[in-house]
Symmetry: C2
């Protein structure tokens, strides 16, 4: 791949595809999409940059909104907020960022770097640190790689700015930044620890913006051509259908800066007479079919509208929705012992060994 | 007053006097006192600097431990921690502090600037921003003077460091920094917004280190001479005895980074047959005699051991203690309408007008 301009069509596809990769979380991309339509209408254009175009010494800003997705639905996005997180980090460190990247490609956080890039006139690197969405700060390839977790810059819409300057561990970064996020109202725009070009080349999960655009494009073309959208996704991604059915119950609570709960689905088609239950912490974490775990993090569990193929978020899933649940393979970095320690089921409090959908 | 070295005797007196001015809070000075004894034994000596020796352009570091006093009793003080808060602020702002001052002269926070000063070899300014102890960030003369509330640097013993870089108001500074403090374990060592020499001259409460030393000295001399310690305090400070009696009940809880509750006392001597109740939020806030409010913030309510004259803290008051409760007059800045808005009874949630012990 070579550097290229991101088109307006790409942004529409990115929003749809990243929502699938969000595995229920990362926040709905819709508000970010509206912002990007406006920014492009105003003449902005964002350039997508391959990882290999970075120099080892370049500084890269990894950005995301952290917090509870439900709050992100209620507090409208101002595209300048995420740009302020980047400029706060620049003024704090004295670095000049060569480019901006997503911390997580999943959901609305796929759009955050584009908004910052448009305001600050920098390219977006075609990579992220999750290859999906995860709820906590230490659930990144950077943390698995034991890169420096600090500093982290946070801003909110009121003008509050706080920096976590130093921490003894990734877990402490999560603890302190989460408290700040909760006080902001469970949503904070953040610029994570600056990464060098060398670090992004070694630990970045490559090509994930391109991948999200490809998934969104497949969904769009299926819709135009009246084709099966689920099959269209599986034609571009090596995934597996886990279940089809109807949402019959949702337990959901916003707590400690997260959205937690469970959703239950009654089976349809080949799954008639069975029941699927999926636990979530912002993202879908573990799925049980009739009490047996059939998929779990780091495998991507994606709940999709059976008719449109659109992703269903943990904050929007509701009674009566007809869904198809698919699994997609995770970035290999999370299948290592260190990776599983960070994002396997035990990292979310589930006392079970990881059993992968795609691993023997 | 001219600049002078603080003697070992001064430090003992400062600890005793500041504990009285702490009005139940500011944390027990005992652990800080032990640290200073050790630092002086190791050859350190701290210089006390009058406010007028500051140049208008000097930068002054105002330091304090924030959190719940009860936690300060349990987690032992390391004198380098408060010095780290100062160096974090220096590296963040690029300023070089000419001197260090107490944010609050009450309790253990009177000793914090001495510990930082010993490690960093700077003088301590003879002033603070409260003239006593208060629980919240916006309860200072700096806030009454509408000085800039940010940045604020926080550190903990584990090596966590966080900076609140910008806030829209003092209340937001309190909210965000309090959350960080809670995550540290309800105790954080902080360097508040840097103050210029001109700001300290205009808004600092002058001579409060000297005042605390004088109160402690009066207590010490009374003890040596077997004189009445309460009378000895009232000989150097224009206070008033409110009550004498015995602690019969204490409700106390550590919550949201504060120590809150109520203590009740049965009357003795001239107060036999009456009951005093005092509500606290780290510090003693409002006292009711048989249901009638007789003293309230910003007047200093000091609960003293009737025999020794030593102050009794909200974290140490316990059943059976014989106490004398006195009131001392507050710094005039807190009796202005703006001052009362920050620290009057309504600021603590008590729906009553301020009625002063010393004001007509």
């Amino acid at each position: 791949m070579t550097a290229r301009d991101i088109t307006t069509e790409d942004i529409e596809d990115l929003a749809a595809g990243a929502w699938v990769l969000g595995t229920g979380g990362g926040g709905s991309p819709y508000l970010g999409l509206l912002n990007m339509r406006r920014l492009y209408a105003d003449g902005h254009c964002v350039r997508l940059m391959p990882v290999d175009d970075l120099d080892d010494q370049d500084w890269v800003a990894a950005v995301s909104n952290m917090g509870a997705p439900l709050v992100g639905q209620e507090r409208l996005t101002d595209s300048r907020t995420i740009a302020r997180a980047v400029t706060l980090m620049e003024s704090h460190t004295g670095y000049r960022f060569r480019a901006i990247m997503a911390l997580e490609i999943g959901g609305g956080n796929s759009i955050q770097p584009l908004m910052a890039a448009a305001h600050l006139d920098r390219p977006v690197v075609d990579a992220d640190m999750m290859g999906r969405a995860y709820p906590e700060a230490q659930m990144t390839s950077a943390a698995v790689g034991d890169l420096r977790p600090y500093p982290l810059a946070t801003v909110d819409v009121r003008g509050v700015e706080a920096i976590v300057e130093r921490v003894p561990s990734w877990t402490w970064m999560e603890r302190v930044s989460r408290r700040i996020c909760v006080e902001y109202g469970s949503i904070a725009s953040t610029c994570k620890a600056p990464r060098t070009g060398a670090e992004v080349k070694r630990w970045g999960i490559r090509g994930t913006t391109t991948k999200a655009i490809a998934i969104g494009r497949a969904l769009r073309l299926a819709r135009v051509g009246h084709a099966d959208p689920i099959a269209a996704i599986l034609a571009v991604e090596p995934g597996k259908v886990l279940f089809q059915g109807k949402a019959i119950d949702v337990e959901r609570r916003t707590t400690e800066g997260f959205l937690r709960g469970k959703a239950r689905f009654d089976g349809a088609a080949d799954w008639r007479g069975t029941r699927l239950e999926i636990a979530f912490q912002n993202e879908w974490i573990v799925a049980w079919l009739d009490g047996e775990p059939i998929a779990m993090s780091p495998d991507l569990i994606c709940v999709l509208d059976s008719v449109t193929g659109e992703a269903v978020g943990t904050e929007t899933v509701r009674y009566g929705q007809r869904v198809t649940v698919i699994a997609l393979p995770p970035p290999p970095v999370f299948l290592t012992p260190r990776g599983l320690a960070h994002v396997g089921p035990a990292a979310f409090g589930y006392d079970m060994p990881f059993r992968g959908v795609f691993t023997p």
